[in-house]
Amino acid sequence: MNNQQILETIRMVEEEKLDIRTVTMGINLLDCSDSDDETARKRAYAKIVDKAEKLVETADAIAREFGIPIINKRISVTPIALVAQASKTPDFVKWAEMLDKAAKKVGVNFIGGFTALVQKGMTPGDLALIESLPVALLKTDRVCSSVNVGDTRSGINMDAVRLLGSTILGIAEHTKEADSIGCAKFVVFCNAVEDNPFMAGAFHGPGEGDVIINVGVSGPGVVKSALEKVKGESFEAVCEIIKKTAFKITRAGELIGKTAAERLGVDFGVLDLSLAPTPEIGDSVARILEEIGVDVCGGHGTTAALALLNDAVKKGGIMASSHVGGLSGAFIPVSEDEGMIAAAVSGELTLDKLEAMTCVCSVGLDMIAIPGSTPSETISAMIADEAAIGMINHKTTAVRIIPVIGKGVGEMAHFGGLLGYAPIMPTHKSSSARLIARGGRIPAPVHSFKN
């Protein structure tokens, strides 16, 4: 064993904040359905608590043995709309409360999967779940929710997009005492992936096995430090060092994921290598882009730098593990990234630039605070824009936007902890109401004649 390599690993953890961002247990709840709603909820609760009972304890022990912190232990479950709508009269708020109780019982900090998949159409169960969201997210602390409104093979369900604009405002209104934090736990997807371990969008897809362990690794700080060694060198050098770093991070994650799965007696699912920032100094994706060469994140060239970063991360990760999945790439949540927050405050980083950046990175408009007075049609139109980018480009896109009730442009919203804080960013003033009023579906795009 090479001493330098041992010291490098220790430095990555101690100084550059390498960590395993999440070990997420995916649990299938399809076998818990029942015509009686309460019976179904009891079954689901019992299964979650049984399968995840030792998740936190096991992950903590593994973190101590390998000397790499595991920040979050989480659970994702089958989209609840699929499980609950077998019941005659599903009470979705009670389903959310059941998930919250189960999460607290086993000690995980988030449980994802309060989810509906409506890319082509909405069932009565999907609709009931969406309508329950404002109250469900108010009454729970740890439940995360997502709705998939489009995909490349189905198009975009614009009726759902319209409904979600007002739903997001409803969630914001219900949690206005805490800067509308409910919206931080709700994400709208196009091309949602079934094995994503990261919140708020994690759910256990119906194509998955019964119980699996997915791991999310992070490490923006490690990539930033590595890049400091190639200042002024060509893009080849930049790509090379990102790939090497991503390789090492992925290997660490795979080892920890496989060990956790083995000890818990379940299958290992995927490793999601996403550079996920935190509001802490030295853990920022924006600062990587600035190290690559744009003075302030959001300036011209940011999209190119992000495209390179996202691609090089995937290449390094895919070489390191045969089970890379989930979203894998770079996240750009504004409130969770110290560099993004600074760039947004300075005015260099705008909503339009963020939208452009989502064309080349792993997700979408994420953790962006907008004025609480934003019309619901404007929010729907932002969702439609993102979904269109995802649909046409065969990629996952998402919108996790927070209309902060009672606050306007220039003020700050504070969400606390990993969710961070963000300046309220201006939206376009012109109305999108006529677009959203149309309803119906945007058809699936043609899959040839690519330009």
Binding site: M1, N2, N3, Q5, I6, L7, E8, T9, I10, A61, R64, E65, F66, G67, I68, K248, R251, A252, E254, L255
Partner: protein, 89 residues
């Protein structure tokens, strides 16, 4: 199970002796030792085998960390596989 013990900090009398004693008392075999002193900074790495260890990994980890606090050193023990997997193709 094999693990790597790393010790980083200010050089002083008795570092190796103190750590070796803890390991020997718990039947943990030292297979390789490597140390350097750069300036006043002491860096040591040990490859140890815990197959016959009489206490749990966690207990050894804690004991070494406590000794580290007493001697103002940073002492870690980590399973060897983490280094292998990260640095070897």
């Amino acid at each position: 199970m094999k693990a790597i013990v790393t010790v980083i900090g200010g050089d002083q009398v008795g570092i190796i002796a103190s750590i070796s004693k803890i390991l020997a008392d718990r039947s943990i075999n030292i297979e390789d030792v490597n140390q350097t002193i750069m300036g006043n900074s002491f860096t040591m790495m040990m490859l140890v085998d815990l197959t016959d260890a009489e206490v749990s990994f966690d207990a050894v980890r804690q004991e070494l960390a406590e000794m580290g606090t007493m001697m103002s050193l940073s002492i870690r023990i980590q399973r060897e596989e983490i280094f292998m997997s990260m640095h070897q193709v």
